[in-house]
Amino acid sequence: MFEASGVWTGYDDIDVIKGLDFTVGEEVFAILGANGAGKTTLLSAIAGLLPLTSGHIRFNGETISGIPPWRIAALGIGFVPQERGVFPDLTVLDNLRVGGLVAKQARGERIDEIMELFPALAGLRNQRAGTLSGGETKMVAAGRALMQDARLLLMDEPTAGLSPLYVENFFDRIRQIHETKQVAIIITEQNATKALEVADRAMVLSLGEAMTIVDAHDLTTDQLRKGYKI
Protein backbone atom coordinates (compact mmCIF):
# COMPACT_ATOMS: atom_id res chain seq x y z
CA MET A 1 0.00 0.00 0.00
CA PHE A 2 2.65 2.49 1.11
CA GLU A 3 6.37 2.37 0.47
CA ALA A 4 9.20 4.77 1.33
CA SER A 5 12.60 4.07 -0.25
CA GLY A 6 15.84 5.88 0.53
CA VAL A 7 13.95 8.93 1.83
CA TRP A 8 16.08 11.93 2.75
CA THR A 9 14.49 15.21 3.75
CA GLY A 10 15.00 18.18 6.05
CA TYR A 11 15.07 21.94 6.26
CA ASP A 12 17.51 24.11 4.30
CA ASP A 13 20.88 22.38 4.58
CA ILE A 14 19.97 20.23 7.56
CA ASP A 15 19.09 16.59 6.88
CA VAL A 16 16.50 15.46 9.42
CA ILE A 17 15.45 12.16 7.82
CA LYS A 18 18.41 10.15 6.61
CA GLY A 19 17.72 7.40 4.12
CA LEU A 20 14.57 5.77 5.50
CA ASP A 21 13.16 2.59 3.98
CA PHE A 22 9.86 1.16 5.19
CA THR A 23 6.52 -0.14 4.02
CA VAL A 24 3.05 0.08 5.52
CA GLY A 25 0.18 -2.25 4.69
CA GLU A 26 -3.45 -2.24 5.81
CA GLU A 27 -2.39 -1.75 9.43
CA VAL A 28 -1.70 0.68 12.23
CA PHE A 29 1.98 1.57 11.99
CA ALA A 30 3.53 3.44 14.92
CA ILE A 31 6.58 5.64 14.55
CA LEU A 32 8.16 6.10 17.94
CA GLY A 33 10.98 8.38 18.91
CA ALA A 34 12.17 11.11 21.24
CA ASN A 35 11.87 14.84 20.53
CA GLY A 36 13.93 15.73 17.48
CA ALA A 37 13.88 12.20 16.07
CA GLY A 38 12.23 13.47 12.87
CA LYS A 39 8.70 12.12 13.31
CA THR A 40 6.87 15.33 12.34
CA THR A 41 9.30 15.98 9.50
CA LEU A 42 8.69 12.50 8.09
CA LEU A 43 4.90 12.85 8.16
CA SER A 44 5.09 16.34 6.61
CA ALA A 45 7.19 14.89 3.79
CA ILE A 46 4.73 12.04 3.21
CA ALA A 47 1.86 14.60 3.10
CA GLY A 48 3.81 16.54 0.46
CA LEU A 49 4.29 19.59 2.67
CA LEU A 50 8.06 19.14 2.65
CA PRO A 51 10.05 18.16 -0.45
CA LEU A 52 12.34 15.12 -0.44
CA THR A 53 16.05 15.66 -0.92
CA SER A 54 16.26 12.19 -2.42
CA GLY A 55 14.44 8.88 -2.48
CA HIS A 56 10.82 8.25 -3.35
CA ILE A 57 7.47 7.51 -1.75
CA ARG A 58 4.81 5.36 -3.39
CA PHE A 59 1.17 4.95 -2.43
CA ASN A 60 -1.06 2.30 -4.00
CA GLY A 61 1.50 1.84 -6.76
CA GLU A 62 1.74 5.54 -7.61
CA THR A 63 4.78 7.73 -6.89
CA ILE A 64 3.62 10.58 -4.68
CA SER A 65 6.93 12.25 -3.88
CA GLY A 66 7.19 15.53 -5.77
CA ILE A 67 3.49 16.03 -6.34
CA PRO A 68 1.56 18.85 -4.60
CA PRO A 69 -0.09 18.13 -1.22
CA TRP A 70 -3.65 18.58 -2.51
CA ARG A 71 -3.08 15.84 -5.09
CA ILE A 72 -1.65 13.57 -2.41
CA ALA A 73 -4.79 14.25 -0.36
CA ALA A 74 -6.91 13.46 -3.43
CA LEU A 75 -5.17 10.08 -3.71
CA GLY A 76 -6.46 9.23 -0.23
CA ILE A 77 -3.85 10.35 2.29
CA GLY A 78 -5.29 12.38 5.14
CA PHE A 79 -3.00 14.38 7.41
CA VAL A 80 -3.71 15.25 11.05
CA PRO A 81 -0.93 17.59 12.20
CA GLN A 82 0.16 17.75 15.81
CA GLU A 83 -0.75 21.42 16.16
CA ARG A 84 -3.16 23.71 14.34
CA GLY A 85 -5.12 20.77 12.98
CA VAL A 86 -8.40 22.64 12.59
CA PHE A 87 -9.67 25.80 10.92
CA PRO A 88 -10.37 27.94 14.00
CA ASP A 89 -12.86 30.37 12.43
CA LEU A 90 -15.06 27.60 11.06
CA THR A 91 -17.58 25.70 13.16
CA VAL A 92 -17.04 22.01 13.92
CA LEU A 93 -19.55 21.13 11.22
CA ASP A 94 -17.88 23.40 8.66
CA ASN A 95 -14.47 21.91 9.49
CA LEU A 96 -15.89 18.51 8.60
CA ARG A 97 -17.63 19.89 5.51
CA VAL A 98 -14.46 21.53 4.21
CA GLY A 99 -12.69 18.20 4.64
CA GLY A 100 -15.34 16.50 2.54
CA LEU A 101 -15.36 19.09 -0.24
CA VAL A 102 -14.84 16.60 -3.03
CA ALA A 103 -15.48 13.31 -1.28
CA LYS A 104 -17.41 10.72 -3.27
CA GLN A 105 -19.78 9.60 -0.51
CA ALA A 106 -22.65 11.95 0.37
CA ARG A 107 -21.37 14.54 2.81
CA GLY A 108 -24.30 14.17 5.23
CA GLU A 109 -23.77 10.42 5.58
CA ARG A 110 -20.08 10.93 6.16
CA ILE A 111 -20.68 13.56 8.84
CA ASP A 112 -23.09 11.20 10.61
CA GLU A 113 -20.38 8.54 10.62
CA ILE A 114 -17.86 10.96 12.13
CA MET A 115 -20.38 11.96 14.80
CA GLU A 116 -20.88 8.28 15.63
CA LEU A 117 -17.15 7.84 15.91
CA PHE A 118 -16.74 10.96 18.08
CA PRO A 119 -20.09 11.39 19.89
CA ALA A 120 -18.67 14.31 21.89
CA LEU A 121 -18.68 16.39 18.70
CA ALA A 122 -22.42 16.06 18.16
CA GLY A 123 -23.25 18.71 20.73
CA LEU A 124 -20.53 21.01 19.42
CA ARG A 125 -21.61 21.09 15.76
CA ASN A 126 -22.12 24.83 15.64
CA GLN A 127 -19.28 25.85 17.93
CA ARG A 128 -16.25 27.54 16.43
CA ALA A 129 -13.33 25.11 16.33
CA GLY A 130 -11.01 27.76 17.75
CA THR A 131 -12.93 27.66 21.03
CA LEU A 132 -12.69 23.89 21.58
CA SER A 133 -10.58 22.10 24.19
CA GLY A 134 -7.42 20.25 23.16
CA GLY A 135 -9.14 16.86 23.05
CA GLU A 136 -12.13 18.13 21.09
CA THR A 137 -9.78 19.83 18.65
CA LYS A 138 -7.97 16.55 18.01
CA MET A 139 -11.29 14.82 17.33
CA VAL A 140 -12.29 17.49 14.82
CA ALA A 141 -8.88 17.26 13.16
CA ALA A 142 -9.17 13.49 12.82
CA GLY A 143 -12.76 13.78 11.62
CA ARG A 144 -11.80 16.38 9.05
CA ALA A 145 -9.07 14.12 7.66
CA LEU A 146 -11.46 11.14 7.52
CA MET A 147 -13.98 13.27 5.60
CA GLN A 148 -11.43 13.38 2.77
CA ASP A 149 -12.03 9.74 1.82
CA ALA A 150 -8.68 8.91 3.41
CA ARG A 151 -7.34 5.41 2.86
CA LEU A 152 -4.19 6.21 4.82
CA LEU A 153 -4.29 8.50 7.82
CA LEU A 154 -1.14 10.27 9.02
CA MET A 155 -1.54 11.22 12.68
CA ASP A 156 1.20 13.29 14.23
CA GLU A 157 1.25 12.81 18.01
CA PRO A 158 -2.55 12.96 18.26
CA THR A 159 -2.59 12.69 22.05
CA ALA A 160 0.14 15.23 22.80
CA GLY A 161 -0.96 17.53 25.62
CA LEU A 162 -4.17 15.62 26.37
CA SER A 163 -5.31 14.47 29.81
CA PRO A 164 -4.88 10.70 30.52
CA LEU A 165 -8.64 10.08 30.20
CA TYR A 166 -8.69 11.63 26.74
CA VAL A 167 -5.55 9.71 25.75
CA GLU A 168 -7.19 6.39 26.60
CA ASN A 169 -10.33 7.33 24.73
CA PHE A 170 -8.46 8.63 21.72
CA PHE A 171 -6.40 5.49 21.25
CA ASP A 172 -9.64 3.48 21.36
CA ARG A 173 -10.97 5.69 18.59
CA ILE A 174 -7.83 5.18 16.52
CA ARG A 175 -8.23 1.42 16.66
CA GLN A 176 -11.93 1.81 15.87
CA ILE A 177 -11.17 3.97 12.82
CA HIS A 178 -8.79 1.35 11.51
CA GLU A 179 -11.12 -1.58 12.09
CA THR A 180 -14.46 -0.14 11.07
CA LYS A 181 -13.40 2.12 8.23
CA GLN A 182 -10.55 -0.02 6.88
CA VAL A 183 -8.18 2.93 7.01
CA ALA A 184 -4.45 2.31 7.37
CA ILE A 185 -2.85 4.58 9.96
CA ILE A 186 0.67 5.86 10.45
CA ILE A 187 0.84 7.35 13.91
CA THR A 188 3.79 9.10 15.51
CA GLU A 189 3.99 9.05 19.29
CA GLN A 190 6.22 9.73 22.22
CA ASN A 191 3.86 7.73 24.43
CA ALA A 192 5.23 4.35 23.34
CA THR A 193 3.16 2.23 25.73
CA LYS A 194 -0.19 3.48 24.45
CA ALA A 195 0.88 3.53 20.82
CA LEU A 196 2.06 -0.08 20.99
CA GLU A 197 -1.32 -1.13 22.36
CA VAL A 198 -3.05 -0.11 19.14
CA ALA A 199 -0.27 -0.59 16.59
CA ASP A 200 0.36 -3.69 14.49
CA ARG A 201 3.98 -2.78 13.75
CA ALA A 202 6.32 -0.09 14.99
CA MET A 203 9.41 1.75 13.83
CA VAL A 204 11.77 3.35 16.33
CA LEU A 205 13.19 6.50 14.84
CA SER A 206 16.37 8.01 16.21
CA LEU A 207 17.93 11.17 14.76
CA GLY A 208 16.30 10.53 11.40
CA GLU A 209 17.29 6.89 11.11
CA ALA A 210 15.23 3.74 11.63
CA MET A 211 16.72 1.92 14.61
CA THR A 212 14.31 -0.97 14.27
CA ILE A 213 11.06 -1.98 12.53
CA VAL A 214 9.24 -4.86 14.21
CA ASP A 215 5.82 -6.23 15.12
CA ALA A 216 4.47 -4.04 17.94
CA HIS A 217 4.31 -6.85 20.49
CA ASP A 218 7.91 -7.87 19.70
CA LEU A 219 9.41 -4.48 20.51
CA THR A 220 11.64 -4.72 23.55
CA THR A 221 12.36 -2.12 26.20
CA ASP A 222 16.03 -2.26 25.24
CA GLN A 223 15.23 -1.43 21.62
CA LEU A 224 13.12 1.49 22.79
CA ARG A 225 15.77 2.77 25.18
CA LYS A 226 18.36 2.57 22.44
CA GLY A 227 16.10 4.53 20.10
CA TYR A 228 15.18 7.13 22.71
CA LYS A 229 18.87 7.31 23.74
CA ILE A 230 17.95 6.84 27.43
Binding site: W70, I72, A74, P81, R84, F87, V98, V102
Partner: protein, 313 residues
Protein backbone atom coordinates in the same frame (compact mmCIF):
# COMPACT_ATOMS: atom_id res chain seq x y z
CA UNK B 1 -39.78 72.45 8.48
CA UNK B 2 -38.48 74.10 5.35
CA UNK B 3 -35.46 75.36 7.31
CA UNK B 4 -34.68 71.83 8.49
CA UNK B 5 -35.00 70.48 4.92
CA UNK B 6 -32.69 73.21 3.62
CA UNK B 7 -30.21 72.49 6.41
CA UNK B 8 -30.15 68.75 5.71
CA UNK B 9 -30.39 68.72 1.93
CA UNK B 10 -29.52 72.31 1.00
CA UNK B 11 -26.44 71.20 -0.95
CA UNK B 12 -27.68 68.20 -2.94
CA UNK B 13 -24.59 68.13 -5.18
CA UNK B 14 -22.30 67.82 -2.16
CA UNK B 15 -24.57 65.24 -0.60
CA UNK B 16 -24.79 63.16 -3.77
CA UNK B 17 -21.03 63.28 -4.40
CA UNK B 18 -20.35 62.38 -0.77
CA UNK B 19 -22.73 59.43 -1.05
CA UNK B 20 -21.04 58.33 -4.32
CA UNK B 21 -17.75 58.24 -2.43
CA UNK B 22 -19.39 56.41 0.45
CA UNK B 23 -20.85 53.76 -1.86
CA UNK B 24 -17.51 53.37 -3.66
CA UNK B 25 -15.68 52.79 -0.35
CA UNK B 26 -18.39 50.36 0.79
CA UNK B 27 -18.18 48.41 -2.48
CA UNK B 28 -14.39 48.24 -2.43
CA UNK B 29 -14.52 47.39 1.28
CA UNK B 30 -16.85 44.43 0.68
CA UNK B 31 -14.48 43.11 -1.99
CA UNK B 32 -11.50 43.67 0.31
CA UNK B 33 -13.44 41.83 3.01
CA UNK B 34 -13.47 38.76 0.73
CA UNK B 35 -9.73 39.11 0.20
CA UNK B 36 -8.50 40.10 3.65
CA UNK B 37 -11.26 39.15 6.07
CA UNK B 38 -12.13 35.81 4.48
CA UNK B 39 -9.06 34.60 2.57
CA UNK B 40 -6.39 36.43 4.59
CA UNK B 41 -4.90 38.28 1.61
CA UNK B 42 -3.76 41.71 2.80
CA UNK B 43 -4.25 43.73 -0.36
CA UNK B 44 -2.63 47.12 0.08
CA UNK B 45 -3.06 47.98 -3.58
CA UNK B 46 -6.83 48.46 -3.83
CA UNK B 47 -6.28 51.77 -5.66
CA UNK B 48 -4.32 49.94 -8.39
CA UNK B 49 -7.01 47.38 -9.24
CA UNK B 50 -9.72 50.03 -9.04
CA UNK B 51 -7.60 52.45 -11.09
CA UNK B 52 -6.93 49.84 -13.79
CA UNK B 53 -10.69 49.59 -14.29
CA UNK B 54 -11.24 53.33 -14.07
CA UNK B 55 -8.65 54.18 -16.72
CA UNK B 56 -9.52 51.24 -18.99
CA UNK B 57 -13.10 52.51 -18.96
CA UNK B 58 -11.98 56.11 -19.54
CA UNK B 59 -9.54 55.33 -22.37
CA UNK B 60 -12.11 53.22 -24.23
CA UNK B 61 -14.83 55.83 -23.83
CA UNK B 62 -12.73 58.91 -24.62
CA UNK B 63 -10.39 57.63 -27.34
CA UNK B 64 -12.40 54.87 -28.98
CA UNK B 65 -16.03 55.85 -28.36
CA UNK B 66 -16.68 52.38 -27.01
CA UNK B 67 -20.17 51.95 -25.59
CA UNK B 68 -20.83 51.94 -21.85
CA UNK B 69 -21.43 48.22 -21.39
CA UNK B 70 -18.44 47.11 -23.44
CA UNK B 71 -16.19 49.63 -21.66
CA UNK B 72 -17.49 48.44 -18.29
CA UNK B 73 -16.82 44.83 -19.29
CA UNK B 74 -13.28 45.79 -20.31
CA UNK B 75 -12.78 47.64 -17.00
CA UNK B 76 -13.93 44.52 -15.15
CA UNK B 77 -11.58 42.35 -17.21
CA UNK B 78 -8.66 44.74 -16.63
CA UNK B 79 -9.13 44.51 -12.85
CA UNK B 80 -9.57 40.75 -13.08
CA UNK B 81 -6.47 40.12 -15.19
CA UNK B 82 -4.36 42.36 -12.96
CA UNK B 83 -5.80 40.56 -9.93
CA UNK B 84 -4.99 37.15 -11.39
CA UNK B 85 -1.41 38.18 -12.12
CA UNK B 86 -1.01 39.70 -8.65
CA UNK B 87 -2.64 36.63 -7.11
CA UNK B 88 -0.18 34.34 -8.87
CA UNK B 89 2.74 36.43 -7.66
CA UNK B 90 1.60 36.69 -4.02
CA UNK B 91 0.21 33.16 -3.59
CA UNK B 92 3.41 31.82 -2.04
CA UNK B 93 4.49 35.00 -0.23
CA UNK B 94 4.14 35.62 3.51
CA UNK B 95 1.91 38.42 4.86
CA UNK B 96 4.58 41.11 4.65
CA UNK B 97 5.42 40.08 1.09
CA UNK B 98 1.74 40.26 0.08
CA UNK B 99 1.40 43.78 1.46
CA UNK B 100 4.56 44.93 -0.31
CA UNK B 101 3.68 43.24 -3.61
CA UNK B 102 0.13 44.60 -3.78
CA UNK B 103 1.35 48.08 -2.88
CA UNK B 104 3.88 47.68 -5.70
CA UNK B 105 1.06 46.78 -8.13
CA UNK B 106 -0.79 49.98 -7.20
CA UNK B 107 2.40 52.00 -7.55
CA UNK B 108 3.11 50.53 -10.99
CA UNK B 109 -0.43 51.32 -12.15
CA UNK B 110 -0.17 54.86 -10.79
CA UNK B 111 3.24 55.53 -12.39
CA UNK B 112 2.19 53.98 -15.71
CA UNK B 113 -0.90 56.18 -15.86
CA UNK B 114 0.97 59.28 -14.74
CA UNK B 115 3.92 58.90 -17.12
CA UNK B 116 1.93 57.76 -20.16
CA UNK B 117 0.58 60.72 -22.14
CA UNK B 118 -1.09 59.54 -25.37
CA UNK B 119 -3.81 57.40 -23.80
CA UNK B 120 -4.11 58.50 -20.20
CA UNK B 121 -3.25 62.17 -20.67
CA UNK B 122 -0.73 61.88 -17.83
CA UNK B 123 -1.04 64.56 -15.19
CA UNK B 124 -3.19 66.70 -17.49
CA UNK B 125 -5.95 64.15 -17.14
CA UNK B 126 -8.40 62.27 -19.34
CA UNK B 127 -11.92 63.33 -20.13
CA UNK B 128 -14.66 63.85 -20.48
CA UNK B 129 -16.71 60.83 -19.51
CA UNK B 130 -20.47 61.16 -19.36
CA UNK B 131 -23.22 59.14 -17.81
CA UNK B 132 -24.54 56.51 -20.23
CA UNK B 133 -27.98 58.09 -20.02
CA UNK B 134 -29.35 61.58 -19.49
CA UNK B 135 -32.58 62.12 -17.63
CA UNK B 136 -31.90 65.71 -16.78
CA UNK B 137 -31.48 66.77 -13.17
CA UNK B 138 -32.27 63.31 -11.92
CA UNK B 139 -29.33 61.65 -13.72
CA UNK B 140 -27.13 62.03 -10.63
CA UNK B 141 -29.74 60.46 -8.41
CA UNK B 142 -30.35 57.62 -10.87
CA UNK B 143 -26.61 56.86 -10.93
CA UNK B 144 -26.58 56.90 -7.15
CA UNK B 145 -29.44 54.40 -7.15
CA UNK B 146 -27.42 52.18 -9.48
CA UNK B 147 -24.43 52.39 -7.14
CA UNK B 148 -26.68 51.48 -4.21
CA UNK B 149 -27.88 48.50 -6.24
CA UNK B 150 -24.33 47.40 -7.10
CA UNK B 151 -23.09 47.63 -3.50
CA UNK B 152 -26.24 45.84 -2.37
CA UNK B 153 -25.47 43.04 -4.83
CA UNK B 154 -21.88 42.85 -3.59
CA UNK B 155 -23.10 42.61 0.00
CA UNK B 156 -25.58 39.89 -0.95
CA UNK B 157 -22.81 37.98 -2.75
CA UNK B 158 -20.38 38.32 0.19
CA UNK B 159 -23.01 36.99 2.59
CA UNK B 160 -23.71 34.10 0.24
CA UNK B 161 -20.02 33.28 -0.03
CA UNK B 162 -19.85 32.95 3.76
CA UNK B 163 -22.47 30.19 3.68
CA UNK B 164 -21.14 28.34 0.62
CA UNK B 165 -18.60 25.49 0.28
CA UNK B 166 -16.43 27.92 -1.68
CA UNK B 167 -16.56 30.37 1.25
CA UNK B 168 -15.57 27.64 3.69
CA UNK B 169 -12.59 26.83 1.49
CA UNK B 170 -11.61 30.52 1.44
CA UNK B 171 -11.94 30.81 5.24
CA UNK B 172 -9.94 27.60 5.65
CA UNK B 173 -7.20 29.05 3.43
CA UNK B 174 -7.24 32.34 5.30
CA UNK B 175 -7.14 30.94 8.82
CA UNK B 176 -4.80 27.98 8.45
CA UNK B 177 -3.06 27.89 5.09
CA UNK B 178 -0.60 25.10 5.94
CA UNK B 179 -3.51 22.81 6.83
CA UNK B 180 -5.54 23.99 3.85
CA UNK B 181 -2.68 22.82 1.63
CA UNK B 182 -3.44 19.26 2.68
CA UNK B 183 -7.10 19.52 1.62
CA UNK B 184 -8.12 18.18 -1.74
CA UNK B 185 -8.15 21.61 -3.39
CA UNK B 186 -5.07 23.56 -4.56
CA UNK B 187 -4.53 26.58 -2.31
CA UNK B 188 -2.67 28.54 -4.96
CA UNK B 189 -5.52 28.22 -7.45
CA UNK B 190 -7.98 29.24 -4.73
CA UNK B 191 -5.99 32.38 -3.94
CA UNK B 192 -5.47 33.33 -7.56
CA UNK B 193 -9.18 32.76 -8.22
CA UNK B 194 -10.44 34.98 -5.40
CA UNK B 195 -7.91 37.69 -6.27
CA UNK B 196 -9.05 37.66 -9.91
CA UNK B 197 -12.74 37.66 -9.00
CA UNK B 198 -12.59 40.42 -6.39
CA UNK B 199 -10.15 42.55 -8.37
CA UNK B 200 -12.52 42.27 -11.34
CA UNK B 201 -15.18 43.71 -9.04
CA UNK B 202 -12.81 46.53 -8.09
CA UNK B 203 -12.19 47.20 -11.78
CA UNK B 204 -15.94 47.33 -12.40
CA UNK B 205 -16.38 49.82 -9.55
CA UNK B 206 -13.60 51.87 -11.15
CA UNK B 207 -15.55 51.88 -14.41
CA UNK B 208 -18.68 53.03 -12.59
CA UNK B 209 -16.73 55.85 -10.97
CA UNK B 210 -15.67 57.34 -14.33
CA UNK B 211 -19.01 59.03 -15.16
CA UNK B 212 -19.17 60.48 -11.62
CA UNK B 213 -15.95 62.46 -11.91
CA UNK B 214 -16.15 62.99 -15.72
CA UNK B 215 -12.40 63.72 -15.77
CA UNK B 216 -9.70 61.28 -14.65
CA UNK B 217 -6.45 62.27 -12.95
CA UNK B 218 -3.67 60.06 -11.57
CA UNK B 219 -4.11 61.79 -8.20
CA UNK B 220 -7.39 59.90 -7.87
CA UNK B 221 -5.35 56.69 -7.57
CA UNK B 222 -3.09 57.53 -4.65
CA UNK B 223 -2.74 55.34 -1.58
CA UNK B 224 -5.38 57.55 0.08
CA UNK B 225 -8.22 55.50 -1.39
CA UNK B 226 -6.63 52.26 -0.20
CA UNK B 227 -6.18 53.70 3.29
CA UNK B 228 -9.82 54.84 3.32
CA UNK B 229 -11.04 51.37 2.32
CA UNK B 230 -8.80 49.53 4.79
CA UNK B 231 -9.67 51.93 7.61
CA UNK B 232 -13.39 51.50 6.97
CA UNK B 233 -13.13 47.72 6.77
CA UNK B 234 -10.93 47.23 9.80
CA UNK B 235 -12.98 49.71 11.85
CA UNK B 236 -16.25 47.98 11.00
CA UNK B 237 -14.83 44.46 11.33
CA UNK B 238 -12.95 42.80 8.51
CA UNK B 239 -14.58 39.40 9.02
CA UNK B 240 -18.13 40.63 8.62
CA UNK B 241 -19.72 41.33 5.24
CA UNK B 242 -21.37 44.38 6.85
CA UNK B 243 -18.06 45.61 8.30
CA UNK B 244 -17.14 47.81 5.36
CA UNK B 245 -20.55 49.49 5.39
CA UNK B 246 -20.42 50.29 9.10
CA UNK B 247 -16.82 51.48 8.88
CA UNK B 248 -17.46 53.59 5.78
CA UNK B 249 -20.40 55.34 7.44
CA UNK B 250 -18.22 56.11 10.47
CA UNK B 251 -15.34 57.46 8.37
CA UNK B 252 -16.37 58.67 4.93
CA UNK B 253 -19.91 59.35 6.11
CA UNK B 254 -18.59 61.50 8.90
CA UNK B 255 -15.88 63.33 6.97
CA UNK B 256 -17.13 63.49 3.38
CA UNK B 257 -20.77 64.01 4.16
CA UNK B 258 -21.55 65.15 7.71
CA UNK B 259 -18.65 67.55 8.35
CA UNK B 260 -18.48 68.89 4.80
CA UNK B 261 -22.20 69.58 4.69
CA UNK B 262 -23.14 70.51 8.17
CA UNK B 263 -20.06 72.02 9.83
CA UNK B 264 -19.54 75.63 8.73
CA UNK B 265 -15.83 75.41 7.86
CA UNK B 266 -14.24 78.24 5.82
CA UNK B 267 -13.86 77.41 2.12
CA UNK B 268 -10.04 77.57 2.34
CA UNK B 269 -9.98 75.04 5.15
CA UNK B 270 -12.39 72.77 3.28
CA UNK B 271 -10.31 72.81 0.10
CA UNK B 272 -6.79 72.58 1.50
CA UNK B 273 -6.42 71.66 5.16
CA UNK B 274 -9.47 69.39 5.40
CA UNK B 275 -8.44 66.64 2.91
CA UNK B 276 -4.95 66.45 4.42
CA UNK B 277 -6.28 66.39 7.98
CA UNK B 278 -8.75 63.70 6.95
CA UNK B 279 -5.94 61.46 5.67
CA UNK B 280 -3.88 62.03 8.81
CA UNK B 281 -6.86 61.11 10.96
CA UNK B 282 -7.60 58.05 8.78
CA UNK B 283 -3.96 56.92 9.11
CA UNK B 284 -4.02 57.37 12.89
CA UNK B 285 -7.41 55.68 13.06
CA UNK B 286 -6.08 52.76 11.04
CA UNK B 287 -3.24 52.23 13.52
CA UNK B 288 -5.72 52.48 16.39
CA UNK B 289 -8.27 50.08 14.95
CA UNK B 290 -5.60 47.52 14.05
CA UNK B 291 -5.48 46.90 17.79
CA UNK B 292 -9.08 45.71 17.58
CA UNK B 293 -8.66 43.34 14.66
CA UNK B 294 -10.34 41.18 13.43
CA UNK B 295 -13.73 42.04 14.97
CA UNK B 296 -13.35 45.81 14.74
CA UNK B 297 -14.26 48.24 17.51
CA UNK B 298 -17.98 47.51 17.30
CA UNK B 299 -17.39 43.75 17.33
CA UNK B 300 -15.11 44.08 20.36
CA UNK B 301 -17.69 46.21 22.19
CA UNK B 302 -20.40 43.66 21.40
CA UNK B 303 -18.21 40.78 22.63
CA UNK B 304 -17.38 42.64 25.85
CA UNK B 305 -21.10 43.26 26.44
CA UNK B 306 -21.71 39.56 25.83
CA UNK B 307 -18.99 38.51 28.27
CA UNK B 308 -20.33 40.95 30.90
CA UNK B 309 -23.79 39.50 30.36
CA UNK B 310 -22.46 35.98 30.89
CA UNK B 311 -20.68 36.96 34.09
CA UNK B 312 -23.95 38.29 35.50
CA UNK B 313 -25.71 34.97 34.90
Amino acid sequence: MSAVWDYLFGSPAFLIFGTYTLMMIVGLGILLHLQLGVTGIGNFGVAGFWGAGLYTFGILQVHYDVGFWLALLAATAAGGVLGAIAGWVIADLDDDGVLAATLAVATIVFLAIESEKDFTGGRVGLGTIDFPFDIGERTDLAWLAILFGVTGLLLWYARRVHRSPYGRLLIATGTNEPLARSLRKPVKRTKVGIMALTSAGMGALGGLYGPIVHFLFPTQLTVAITVSVITALVLGGQQRPWGAFIGAVLTVGLFDIAIKLYVPLPREVLEHAFPVTKQIIFGALLIFVLLFRPLGILGRMRRERHVKGLSRV
